[in-house]
Subunit: 202 residues, 2 copies
Amino acid sequence: MGSVVAEITVSLDGFVAGPNDSPELGLGEGGEQLHEWVFGLKSWREPHGLEGGEEGRDADLVQNAIDRTGAIIVGRRMFDNARGWGDEPPFRKPVFVLTHEPREPVEKSGTTFTFVNGIESALEQAQSAAGDRDIGIGGGAQTIQQYLAAGHLDELLLHVVPLLLGGGVRLFDGVGGDVKLEQAEVIASPAVTHLRFRIAPG
Amino acid sequence: MGSVVAEITVSLDGFVAGPNDSPELGLGEGGEQLHEWVFGLKSWREPHGLEGGEEGRDADLVQNAIDRTGAIIVGRRMFDNARGWGDEPPFRKPVFVLTHEPREPVEKSGTTFTFVNGIESALEQAQSAAGDRDIGIGGGAQTIQQYLAAGHLDELLLHVVPLLLGGGVRLFDGVGGDVKLEQAEVIASPAVTHLRFRIAPG
């Protein structure tokens, strides 16, 4: 079975979205800046149907995360704020959306969104869909916090951008204390520092 | 004139002290763990009157910060929580303590603590004392926030440790937005990642 990996971009002051995130504002005020590091990368542009882009360490890291991931879990708020990733979601693998109001699965251009109530059930279904590959916990903050607090995360991959948002949605809020992290990898480029941590079994 | 450099150790979840920091608890519950990366380093142990210790990149970085710093500014809360650094403070250079209740300077084993009301006045006095060398803004969080918000910081050096404190004193709280950071250096070791940022003039 693969690892359970939470991967998310975070500002230096710890926010994964700016103030007032919503379907209208997406990642909130200033939140789009969080992902500027990724928009120019070939490995991000390709699955988004865009041509060209940079290669290199950042692009390789993104490609590697895509390749090793067999299924993805996201929270309902993230799904809503991204407006379901439009008509052509970039994932092209099973995505499980946590929600208290399950509904029929949605299939769009090779990506199936399955709506699941409960983090345990979502994890089981994702593991079954992913086979030997990893489960990506894509966010948002609450979803990652839930999996972290429940002891289900094996790895945390943070893309830290040199940005102070000053407010918004904090990645770490009310979790910690008994979580043991081990620094596994640091990759730096001018626009972003990638920090990979292994999480010791609790 | 030297640069104004804020340097501080921060947990991955953004805290520079645990809950309930005080003269009795020092850095608060769990806060001592923040500095475990530094206690074994030769360049930290020497000014603290301790023998031995590790050399290497972390130790060099600490030594470099010591060498380039001509004067230090700290907040009153930090001074109190450290209980004035006892009878033999490690600094051996002028330290300016921000306080609304100035009192007579204190001299202890080569370190002079001068109590100053106001961040501008402290900076002027520190610059005058430091000559061509840097001014170190040593913390705590509020002091760094004040200098950051006032546009006085040239550089931010964070020692990020793979630790979730879950609560305490946040380094960044209510600052950001218009602060422009530029990633200048990343040095990683298993116990800590050093992130150095230049701050663009506002």
